[in-house]
Amino acid sequence: MKIHIKNGRLIDPSNNLDTQADLYIAAGKVAAVGKTPAGFSANRVIDAAGLVVCPGLIDLSARLREPGFEYKATLESEMLAAAAGGVTSLACPPDTEPVLDEPGLVEMLKHRAKTLNLAHVYPIGALTVGLAGEQLTEMAELRDAGCVGFSHADVPLQDNQVLWRALQYAATFDFRVWLRPQDGYLAKDGVAHDGEVATRLGLQGIPAFAETIAIATIVEIMRATGTRVHLCRLSTREGVAMVRAAKNDGLPISCDVGIHHAHLSEMDLGYFDAHCHLQPPLRSARDRDALRQGLADGTIDALCSDHTPVDEDSKLLPFADSEAGATGLELLLPLTLKWAIEMKVPLAQALARITREPARILGLDAGHLSEGHTADVCVFDPEHYHKVSAAALKSQGKNTPFLGIELPGKVRYTLLQGQIVYDAGNG
């Protein structure tokens, strides 16, 4: 299959490219950028006039709900959602049932994903067995099975000695450890930011310092062990400042923020809107502004969808009883564009947060359109505004605070290894 994508605005942050150029794809790889290769005759020509052609998006956290939670979502539904969202690579956290703590489970997930062939799936292995916070997993074996990093998902790792040992062990093999910084005791039973809104609504709060204390602990252990750490889902202004300081100290630290936290605050809880029940909690407008600024100045490396499809019944409960999380794969691009427009961030710089940077954190040779490399491509219309609707979402999870809201950016085509896996023209 040879594909010629013509007349598009080609944006490739890794190659410092933002120009009007055609893209030529053959045998699953980028054959050429700009000039037609000798003897190239396309099987398919895509006219991308008025559209942006960029590397396929890379999402640092998408829960596919398999194995164990198939009533919330399946690999099929969620990988279709990824393709419809322009996402060609995604990392999935280990909090499945059973937990991704054995090579066999990881191999099975990789195999299932490969059979569907809609996106590259990169499992993050569990840091401890069963995410119980006691026994280290066989990290090297898990790496050989396909894990690209290790994390504790959203499960608190209470015992700092275990954390210390886990970071030491991971550093032995130079593995990157992904941690969601939140002190489990301080966050216990909490469902909302400990502030004005939680007080008004009578919800148990999670103080901002539940995050900063955890970051301080992680950073101090990093100083001793030299482990590469990726902090997941920052939520506080002070947290951003601490990461900035740790980076200035030269520590091998990176971090991301979820798309919802770049746009929403505690105020959006309104009258107990369970769609705004997220982990970490939506915090103050001041925190949200700092996250948006941190993304713009590069303190925060990447934006991720933190895709968490939740079945309707689990949201139709009193706020604290409802399950946390929001569907996100199909909103990653629109909400990134919205942030970029509002913050006046150049499009290429914004796209780097969902292509080049997550690829670097995952240690992948991906997220770029260099000649001879895998042709994972997203073609989208940046000017097309559309209303988010449950019916239009491919994800089995319809749970998003953005239902009914108009957002910019419509994916037209998604290509995985040179094959069209999504074409908005025919669904």
Binding site: T199, L203, A320
Partner: protein, 315 residues
Amino acid sequence: MRNPQLNDKGELQHLLTIEGLPRETLTHILDTATSFVGVTAREVKKVPLLRGKSVFNLFFENSTRTRTTFEIAAKRLSADVINLNIAVSSHTKGETLLDTVDNLSAMHADMFVVRHAESGAPHLIASHVASHLHVVNAGDGRHAHPTQGLLDLYTIRHYKKDFTRLSVAIVGDVLHSRVARSLIHALTVMGTPDVRVIGPMTLIPAGAEKLGVKVFYDLEQGLRDVDVVVMLRLQSERMRGALLPSAQEFFKYYGLTPEKLALAKPDAIVMHPGPLNRGVEIDSAVADGSHAVILSQVTFGIAVRMAVMSILAGN
């Protein structure tokens, strides 16, 4: 975002919280309650305003007192009252909150009086039920207890007349108190210039000042020259966590004794939502003393609940 308590004509469809309700609405409820105080003192204590209507008391959390006062209020309005104690009923069989509500709606309920341990449960029910149904929040988690707030307001108006010159102190476990939240909103809407909350830092919620109150950690400072003292009930389970060391120490520093009460204005009234923990938050000498209006609150509570139910049913 539309206030979920109001119908499309801007009338009160549900009573979920006092927050966001205009002063006129609160005054209308209090004035209507005044007309019912007479009814409750009559020989025949019934008016036919809710004749033929079914009021379902949905108590997902046990409460004999509040449920009884709602039951009396509904019966005095001639409604049929069905009491459901769901804490020990279908919930234990795994039925969801909204399934329960759907089932009861199918039995042609007109009004749900809901108590639930989780903040926001009545909002969820109100957003789910058919538009002719009315939901009254009888207490949800730490969030709101609007009829209690209204009866407290009624009591204060009865004894003190003018809200715009008052100092009111709310003492004790504000963190877990839906009573405190509802009363704070009620008082600020009515223009009360000085509302104070008093308690140890562990029992004062984050950002309490944003509710429009002054925070005091010292009871004696906080009580100085107030017109109204509202004591909150301290639940015994609070003593088991790290919130408080002991009931004894709490009483010593935050319990209302005649000596502490002497710091308030000479004509100050003392209120309590009940049930009382004598010797924990309040000394018997105060609870039974001349400043206490605790039993008046109970009597007014019935008239206020009658007012709320009749107003909702009329909208």
